[in-house]
Amino acid sequence: MNACAEGQGWKRSGNMQILRQTNMEALEKARTLGPDGVLELLEKKGLEGRGGAAFSTARKWRASRDAPADERFVVCNADEGEPGTFKDKFIIRHNAETVVEGLLIAAYVVGAKRCFIYLCGEYDYLRPRLQQQADDMLARTKMEDVTIEIVRGAGAYVCGEATALLQSIQGFRGTPMQKPPHPTSCGLWGKPTVINNVETLTCAAQAVLFDDWNPALRLFSLSGNIKNPGVYEFPLGVKMSTVIDVAQPKKKLKAMSFGCFGGIMPVDENMAITPEAICVEKCHHGAYSIIFMDETVNVVDISYSIAKFYTYESCGKCTPCREGTIRILNLLKKILNGKGVKKDLQVLAELALHIQETALCGLGQTCGNHVLTSLQHFPADYDHYLKKGAKS
């Protein structure tokens, strides 16, 4: 089990699979295999998206390649914005070359000439080096007419959503669009577009080149009330106790949140971390960012900061999310101020479920998870604040 901590000074560990460099050899191998060969190989290796949706990468590339069009695009989604997630930053800092190579392989397979990297505004200090890597690699490659443009985000979490990202690249407000049509058939300027996460593209290059590439390994971003926060590489199915050992909690752990969107659940040392196990607790693993909370934390306080996050980041397009997120925040504020009553919890749950069911995009569909899961798993934390009110 390879694990590496990202501590002070950004030390690398040569053991991490994600840091293996491909040095243009993956692109060469891709060329010899041909587009179909690459697709077959990636399908065999079982490469899935690492942005949170876990969609088959080969299927996505194939869909764009097969969609009838005179032009196609590939985009690297480097708009890492989910709170508690910093694995893509880690990869860009330490293995940017392989990311770019993965992007070029995607372009080759799909038949795209223009490539984009959408880099969130919060990571703009990484841009000069990333630009350099991209320019260098393009100079070394023999792919004609291929360009890589870095598009700079400007502080909108919702632009991590694929269709919103494409809107932003095209110079519009970053509002998600309904699917269908899917970007793979109708994306940038109406043309088939592949959008992949930074980690996915890195793995794509590695999966093509390395026979021993292990699809089960994932990057975990660990943060919160722990002594060793950082980016770790674990295989799926790793036991919670192993992760906790590495993370070194400061006090007894109480709860964990998968970013803001995945939901809050109790920490079970015996749980094997798999999508299925997480789903049982009504949570979603996403990109495996875990924010740990210990026994000194009242989960409602964290729920409040998550609710605040959503009231900033909702794009405002659809009624349930635009209006529902601020109403949830106001209710939580009321509860935290000791003025909440039992009925407020019902309304909270009703709003959260409603937004989940009727919102237009993934942001809205998941922004209620923290409410629903915290109500389900930590009712005592809410009662604490309700009782406060009752006294006064």
Partner: protein, 141 residues
């Protein structure tokens, strides 16, 4: 997006005049351009301080006692979140996750990350920034 970033870097903020120019150059309706600018929190249509501070308010930073540091910063600078100090030195904003969760609490100053913040580190940083600016002024003279 890049055009707007570059214009903001060059002029300090996206004034009405600058946006009109971009609207003409890019052949975009000004209403649409304004709508785009206002969507993204990192674009500003008002003059900003010399140093734009974006303090992270997401859960990992909150868990690292970020809220208290935020209040401290407001007190030190004498300005609330969203405001600019009277001397035009600092603009203070609250931002969503900046990806420094393992070095929380964290903030960006003019796009550069400052992490593992404490009252001491913040005080020292603010002092350093004020002095650096004063030096620049002296050098200019």
């Amino acid at each position: 997006m890049n055009i707007l970033h570059e214009a903001q870097e060059k002029h300090g903020y996206l004034s009405e005049h600058i946006l009109k120019q971009i609207a003409i150059d890019q052949d975009i309706p000004i209403a649409r351009l304004y709508g785009v600018v206002k969507f993204y929190t990192m674009f500003h249509t008002e003059p900003q301080g010399k140093y734009v501070i974006e303090f992270c308010g997401s859960p990992s930073c909150v868990l690292a006692d970020g809220t208290a540091l935020e209040k401290f910063l407001e007190g030190e600078l004498g300005v609330k979140i969203g405001g600019t100090t009277k001397d035009g030195m600092f603009s203070l904003y609250k931002t969503s996750c900046i990806g420094c969760c393992d070095e929380a609490p964290a903030m960006l100053v003019n796009g550069e990350p400052h992490t593992k913040l404490t009252v001491e580190r913040l005080t020292a940083l603010l002092k350093k920034l004020k002095e650096a600016h004063a030096d620049k002024k002296v050098k200019k003279k």
